[in-house]
Symmetry: C2
């Protein structure tokens, strides 16, 4: 187990009706909030009014920015930064899914930076200060409500890149599973695939001696497997929504990664797909994951796939290791395709061969040589082609 520093000070208000704690919590950070949201579904659901009421009751003035995109764009970030600077915003209150919270993080950093916010995405060391964030989550997927990072897209340059700093971790987040009752069957499946991918990225690591972390990752994977399809079939099943929501936070809030090392592999490959084609992140991950697994499986990595097979998928440990490993990958692919009903080929999301090589080169430049298995751009290209 590697040395680490653990620090996750985010307060979580979890459960039905916990939004009633929002006003008091936001108030701790100032008198003026930027309320940030996406396409306006929170207006339909009434959550927008509830949040406004909470802020008003707490004596917090409010400016607004709506229309944050599903893959949030640097143009929205710039708009938010401008508002924060001009209006002297004390605290940012994103209400939505990971995209809205990711956007809030980039705004939070940009509000304390003189230059263009995209600089901070390119170079995280330039983030020296950030506006506090108190989020209200409406989608279980990215874990942005409790982690340090976000992903911002620049369509001028076809770049989709992570922004990350401990300064960007929300001070508090409201997680009310009932807000996810209206999440569509499709987005529920894609979100579950996203959670699972976060777990796979850390599970498959070169670190040794992380027995506890690996068993906890398996616990979270089992939670996704137990409830992903249930939430699709029964959108207002509270326990399904609650377990997925809490799992989404813990899959990526750094806890399971403590003591494990290594860069992620599938996320950088997927980011190129959605940077070029604006596809749903979780779907891109679902397409690539089984192909990445097959590509990196060999005699040196088979042990980890055996753990996955036996401990998560319940495959008979008496079988030969390579057979268990292949069955584990088959089970993962089958779950993503047939239970979560997600695309399993690039063709299904209208991605052809046209940009594969440039995407592979861009992905490889994102540190893939430090992944579980070091990948050059030719390796990435092979994985993309296998996924066609």
């Amino acid at each position: 187990m590697n040395n680490f520093v653990y620090s996750i000070p985010t307060t979580i208000y979890f459960g039905k009706g916990q939004v009633e704690c929002l006003g008091e919590e936001v108030q701790k950070y100032g008198k003026k909030a930027l309320l940030l949201y996406g396409g306006g579904s929170i207006k339909k659901s009434g959550l927008y009014d509830t949040v406004k009421e909470q802020l008003a009751q707490a004596g917090v003035a409010c400016v607004e920015l709506g229309g944050v995109e599903p893959n949030p764009r640097i143009t929205s970030v710039r708009e938010g930064v401008k508002i924060c600077k001009e209006q002297h915003v004390d605290v940012i209150v994103p209400v939505g899914g990971g995209s809205t919270i990711d956007c809030a993080k980039a705004i939070a950093a940009g509000a304390h930076y003189e230059g263009d916010a995209w600089d901070l995405v390119i170079d995280h060391s330039k983030i020296k200060e950030a506006t506090p964030i108190v989020s209200v989550l409406t989608l279980s997927a990215t874990g942005s409500e409790m982690d340090c990072g976000g992903v911002i897209t620049n369509f001028d340059t076809n770049e989709k890149r992570a922004i990350s700093s401990p300064l960007l971790r929300p001070k508090a987040s409201v997680l009310d599973p009932t807000y996810t009752y209206t999440v569509s069957r499709y987005q529920t499946g894609a979100g579950t695939a996203d959670i699972m991918s976060h777990l796979f990225e850390v599970y498959f690591s070169r670190a040794e001696g992380t027995f506890m972390q690996d068993r906890i990752i398996e616990a979270l994977l089992k939670t996704c497997i137990r409830y992903g399809r249930v939430a699709m079939d029964e959108p207002d099943n509270y326990d399904a929504r609650a377990n997925l929501m809490w799992a989404s936070s813990w899959a990526i809030n750094d806890f399971v990664a403590c003591g494990k090392e290594g860069a992620w592999s599938v996320h950088p490959m997927e980011h190129e797909l959605s940077a070029f084609y604006d596809i749903t992140h979780g779907v891109g991950l679902a397409i690539l994951t089984p192909h990445w697994m097959r590509y990196v499986l060999d005699e040196t990595t088979v042990g980890k796939f055996v753990e996955l097979g036996v401990n998560v998928w319940g495959i008979d440990p008496a079988l030969p290791p390579m057979e268990i490993a292949n069955k584990a990958i088959d089970a993962t692919a089958d779950f993503l395709k047939n239970q979560l009903e997600l695309a399993s080929t690039l063709k299904e999301v209208n991605i052809g061969e046209e940009n594969l090589e440039i995407m592979a080169k861009k992905a490889a430049a994102m540190g893939l040589k430090n992944g579980y298995r070091p990948l050059a751009w030719q390796d990435v290209l092979a994985i993309y082609k296998a996924a066609l």
Copy 2:
């Protein structure tokens, strides 16, 4: 899943040599520290000198209180409170196991209270403020390094009672697994039993819909089972010591209890044993746990025991539920007795029938009616008698 507020802001410096972060961390909370420790083993190991050096380098002045007992006593707490008040201590630095950190917590609260510190043990609502705590852990067991509680003994009244408040959670803790290399075979086994008991207390809860929490508890139980005996046999096995140390914190830092309800059962029963006979806490838990399990197993609770049997002990799920449940209890008892080499009867720790009834009445008064299965004093007496 019940509603909850999650907030665990303790920073953990985990791994070999992380004590080098101590001075800087303590400095955040002031200029004068109370260094608290137990029987002096930290002087033999050299850790005492390292800690003193860290504080000196950071410009933190230091007063000392050694000799904190294995079951820390209110008399030591009073002594610490007196020092804190007289010397205007800013921050308390307990270096040791759970007993020393528990003692620090009671001192931290007592230093801000005008009356006798025992009042705060009796009535936690009187804890309004507390001196910050930065701990250095040398024993994996109680989880005090990351939780809100402690246990203090008053031998004037034969009472062993918990003190608890979010204000008492350490601001930071240094967890260096190598400090536990010198922990004896006996104390390693007892500590592991303590961790497992914290997990059982939460696992067996009346709350429903806590799939994720239950799988994570199983992950932590598996970690104890995987490494408890290994650490006894190979005291300087880093991975064993590291996994046990990290598991000890997470078993009781409130995370696994979030969303679950109910009072603990076996701890209150054990506290009477060690209040009356000053036995090792983990040993008392190891003796009582299987008997408590047998006593509460019936048609209404069998499902939870089946989960334990199948998911933790690998018992064939095809067997009849009651058979799985009994095998799960047998496996638990066998592990505690034969792998951790702990006593399995009260007789082995020189406890006879003489005080059973008064202890049962005292334990029952500690809220056992709100446990997994409500227990009256007669139930507790029956469990004690079964354990003779």
